[in-house]
Amino acid sequence: MHRAYQINHLKQLESESIFVLREFAAQFEKPVLLFSGGKDSIVMAWLARKAFWPAKLPFPLMHVDTGHNFEETMTYRDDFVKEIGAQLVVASVQDSIDKGRVVEEKGPKASRNGLQTVTLLDGIEEHGFDAALGGGRRDEEKARAKERFFSHRDDFGQWDPKNQRPELWNIFNGRKLPGEHFRVFPLSNWTEMDIWQYIKQENIPLPTLYFAAEREVFDRDGTILAKTDFINLLPEEEPTLRKQVVRFRTIGDATCTGAVVSEAKTIDDIIEEVAAARQTERGGRADDKRSETAMEDRKKQGYF
């Protein structure tokens, strides 16, 4: 067979993800794409647009808004949604707090990250969504290494790692009983490097937070955090407040997303940096450091 019948790794990953996205749209009645404004959900939405082009996305985007966002993320979100012609639904953590569904964490290190799960599940229930797309990747974290493309969740949105359906070839079983739903992860087989290479290849616009710039930062528990209106510095943290050239490797809630010291101002710089990196990208996430099985525990509760 001649060599032409081979496609490179990015094309293979793209094809696999598009296949999963089309299965997702076909197998569920009311699907939704969970959009965080981070690079993975941006790539996922980009692939969704390809999967159904020239038609519009057959499902809306939902943003779980902690209210503690970097401003750049919000501007980007609105522009991006407009550009791909998608419909946006916002589920707000502030609403959950106002309704008494959740109680805000107290203390200087309070984070709304954990509260997102309740807002997410409420949002899913309110709109009657029966399946949600997430940008999770198996290379991110050890509990995710065993996640399925089609991840079954019970009535309470919980993940039972011992009761996941086997996935063989490219056959996905999305059948479910009333009340149950699915999380679907089309980027399962992508690594951080693949994501960056793809962003470069496709020339996908990104929020500026991913690129190095001088920002006001301070140190907390070995992580560099950006000074924002939602964070109160502890007395011992005050002396570490400074201006420094940093960028973010992931973009989540502003209260727990750590920055890295970096000079990477372009995609090429970032690819070079990722290639040389000796820390995983979630290494800067305070939410994963709460315990060794923090991610597994949050997933069982219904986290992304």
Binding site: Q6, H9, F19, R22, A51, W53, A145, W169, N173, R175
Partner: protein, 423 residues
């Protein structure tokens, strides 16, 4: 590393089966570590855990154990997927436990693999487990097998030991069908010999290291490029002014090659048309082949929906309701003994199916047929006959892994209870 290298790598999917005793986790740890694919914080976390468990040395196996239950019990329950890359290739490892009670996990991991690594302990030689892993690899049609004879350090790096294991394996492998290529490599995962770096302890071995082999093995002819098949997954209808009459038949090419202008036939209707264009957002393609996801437009309007199959008039898949298949049983709760009803999912189609008969089971350690016990239980592999409620458009699994495979689903719990390969 050139930019072209970064953006234009091959992808190789491989599976490893084995237990902790075989040094499987050590081997994977070694591959990741020596190719610089382990991060500092991962290593620190593993060091910390090893210490708190009282392990003597840094236990690389901990890198591959994800779930709390697995770490607590020191076992691997599920298929774990790992990723690493070298300048030549990106690799996806489906890491599966090797004991017989995990046959279903091995089958799952093998279903998407191009290559299987089979570990043999140099002190033990070819044993039951070697046989089992090889049988699964051959049943799932993995075309490339690498037999790593591990722990060579414990047999004084002796060539005679390696040679006799190679002979034993070849003897046994002659009873397997369909493996096209077997490569033997003497290694020590613990010491690193012939994993990433060539061994200085075994000058008698002139072959490639494991990583070199993984980087260079030719997989271009693994997919079927002869029999054109497009299972229709989704029909794209934009309902916009610009694309008013556009109807794109979207799916992932399961075999063969499609080009604009080709004559095609649509099953089950049997209507024929010509391909007008093959789309990929932003452009039209000159050809499409497995595993590309595309959307195709035709030169005339035909009623086509999800679950239909597009093929060539002169090369059509089999069409039928009576199917003979090998299955691996996945359910803990329910077994199969004789007639039973299921939901069957094949390519993008779903229908009902009745299993009429379990013909025999296979003893996967000896390859013997079992005909006096016909109940398929968890992890059993056997031959069944079934009838579907509507015709399937299929090929034999040996010809095409996509159009020759299916799963059975329990009607009441929706659990996936079996994986099938059509004869």
């Amino acid at each position: 590393m050139s930019e072209r290298g970064y953006l234009d790598m091959d992808l190789l999917r491989f599976t490893t089966a084995g237990s902790v005793d075989d040094g499987k986790s050590t081997l994977i740890g070694r591959l990741l570590y020596d190719s610089k694919n382990i991060f500092e914080d991962q290593l620190e976390a593993v060091e910390k855990t090893s210490k708190s468990r009282g392990d003597e040395h840094v236990n690389l196996a901990l890198l591959t154990d994800g779930l709390r239950a697995e770490r607590e019990q020191g076992i691997t329950i599920d298929v774990a997927y790992r990723y690493f890359a070298t300048p030549k290739r990106k690799f996806i490892i489906a890491d599966t436990p090797g004991h017989i009670q995990y046959t279903r996990n091995m089958v799952t991991g093998a279903s998407t693999a191009n290559l299987a690594i089979i570990l043999v302990d140099a002190r033990k030689g070819v044993i039951e487990q070697t046989c089992r892993h090889s049988f699964i690899a051959s049943l799932l049609q993995i075309k490339h097998i690498v037999v790593c004879v591990n722990k060579m350090d414990l047999v004084d790096w002796k060539k005679e030991t390696f040679d006799s294991i190679v002979d034993d394996y070849k003897d046994f492998a002659s009873r397997l069908q369909s493996v096209t290529e077997v490569t033997f490599i003497p290694i020590s995962a613990l010491k690193g010999d012939n994993v990433v770096d060539p061994s200085t302890n075994m000058p008698w071995y002139q072959g490639p290291t494991l990583l070199y082999h993984l980087e260079n093995v030719y997989i271009g002819s693994d997919a079927n490029h002869v029999d054109a098949r497009l299972p229709v997954q989704w029909v794209i209808r934009p309902h916009s002014t610009e694309w008013h009459d556009f109807r794109g038949y979207a799916g992932r090419v399961a075999g063969g090659v499609f080009k604009p202008g080709d004559d095609v036939v649509v099953l089950p209707s049997g209507f024929e048309a010509k391909i007008k264009a093959i789309h990929d957002m932003g452009g039209e393609l000159e050809e499409a082949f497995n595993p590309m996801s595309i959307a195709m437009t035709l030169d005339r309007e035909i009623d086509i929906s999800r679950g239909d199959m597009i093929a060539k008039p002169n090369n059509q898949p089999k069409v039928g309701q009576d199917i003979e298949a090998m299955v691996c049983w996945f359910s803990e709760k329910k077994s199969l003994a004789g007639r039973a009803k299921f939901i069957l999912r094949h390519t993008t189609k779903e229908c009902k199916a009745i299993v009429s008969e379990v013909r025999y089971k296979v003893n996967i350690n000896t390859l013997h047929k079992i005909e006096d016990d016909l109940e398929l239980k968890l992890n059993d592999i056997g031959r069944i006959s079934l009838r579907t409620s509507s015709p399937l458009f299929y090929d034999s699994y040996t010809k095409n892994r996509q159009t020759g495979s299916f799963v059975l689903i329990d009607e009441f719990t929706n659990e996936t209870v079996a994986a099938g390969m059509i004869r």
